[in-house]
């Protein structure tokens, strides 16, 4: 089953609409969005509301439904 969601770029505020299968994983969404925005080769997480989503989960497992807005956030590596 296909679902349409929005992914928001936390750094710029830009959003992109994605059409996905419920069996797609969060990892795949992160990588697609990061590639779309030509992000640096760093670490990113995707959050839904206040919760960080697990990379290996499918959209279905993560409870992502149509019209959800997920946010792509850089995971700061430096110290």
């Amino acid at each position: 089953m296909a679902v349409r969601i929005k992914v928001k770029n936390a750094e710029t505020g830009a959003t992109v609409e994605m059409e996905l299968e419920v069996e797609n994983t969060i990892d795949e969404v992160i990588e697609s969005a990061a590639t779309f925005w030509s992000k640096d080769m760093g670490a990113y997480v995707l959050r839904r509301g206040k919760k960080v989503l697990r990379g290996g989960n499918t959209l279905k497992d993560a409870g992502v439904i149509a019209n959800d807005v997920l946010e792509l956030i850089p995971d700061p590596e430096g110290g």
């Binding site: 990588e31 206040k50 290996g56 995971d75 590596e77 110290g79």
Partner: protein, 263 residues
């Protein structure tokens, strides 16, 4: 019996203002043993805040030497350290001693991966001030599997993050990692035939974000040693200094996380 109050006595107690915070258990703070891993910008700020907060037994681990480009964000490093090529851990330990004469800082000049496993269990708390994912995973595993609370900080330009991992029930750092973390970690160690090349990207960094992140880290440390777990972050804090927003977020425990499987 209470000592009789003398005029001006409250101003002769270094920790008088801290003692006025009802939940803060200063005796536990004085006794706590803290392992600070990494003596870069974050390690400097964390060590400074720990020392001023009353922590005495602070071990600082870092194998690197001070260089000029450290000086715009490391309070304990000086030009003299650059010329002398001082070890970062020793420079921070010296600075902590200067701030708090009754503190007992200890410098450990080696890679964290070479520190004996037993070192983690000897501490009440581990503060991660690292600059790469591989080392974070190592420290996270070593602390979590020995039942020691791990407070990790990360900065990148004006972005910051703090995560608190409380074993045995809480999520650990690795629970919040995904394929992009694995890819970024692997980039550091690329094999070119016979040799392994270690890439160390120069990440953007500045002091104001470092200050914010280190303050949150040490505040959480105070809660941990004061046994105020209900006040702890649940369990991650994100900070964006460009937009002036900060937010608490939840990293759920991953039942498939290898750290929990091995515990």
């Amino acid at each position: 019996m209470l000592e009789p109050l003398k005029v001006g006595s409250t101003d002769r107690d270094r920790y008088d203002r801290s003692r006025r915070i009802p939940w803060l258990d200063l005796d536990s703070v004085f006794r706590a043993k803290v392992l600070v891993v990494g003596a870069g910008a974050l390690g400097n700020e964390v060590a400074k805040n720990l020392a001023l907060s009353g922590f005495k037994k602070i071990a600082i681990v870092d194998m690197d030497k001070v260089v000029e480009s450290n000086l715009n964000r490391c309070i304990f490093f000086t030009n003299e350290d650059v010329h002398r090529q001082s070890n970062k851990a020793e420079a921070v330990a010296r600075g902590v001693r200067a701030l708090s004469s009754d503190s007992e800082p200890r410098a450990v000049v080696r890679r964290i991966e070479d520190v004996p496993d037993g070192e983690f269990a000897e501490h009440d708390l581990v503060m991660g001030c690292l600059d790469n994912i591989q080392s974070r995973m190592h420290v996270n595993y070593s602390a979590y599997t020995r039942g020691v609370v791990y407070i990790d900080g990360g900065i990148q330009g004006f972005l910051g993050k703090v995560m608190v991992a409380v074993p045995p029930q809480g999520a650990c750092l690795q629970c919040g990692m995904n394929r992009t973390h694995a890819r970024a970690a692997n980039l550091r160690f690329s094999c070119t035939g016979r040799d392994v090349v270690i890439h160390e990207p120069r990440l953007p960094a500045e002091i104001t974000t470092t200050s914010v992140v280190s303050a949150i880290m040490v505040r959480e440390a105070l809660k941990v040693v004061s046994k105020k777990k209900e006040m702890l972050l649940q369990n991650a804090f994100y900070y964006d200094g460009q937009r002036n927003v900060s937010e608490e977020m939840e990293v759920p425990l991953d039942p498939d996380c290898p750290v929990h499987e091995r515990r």
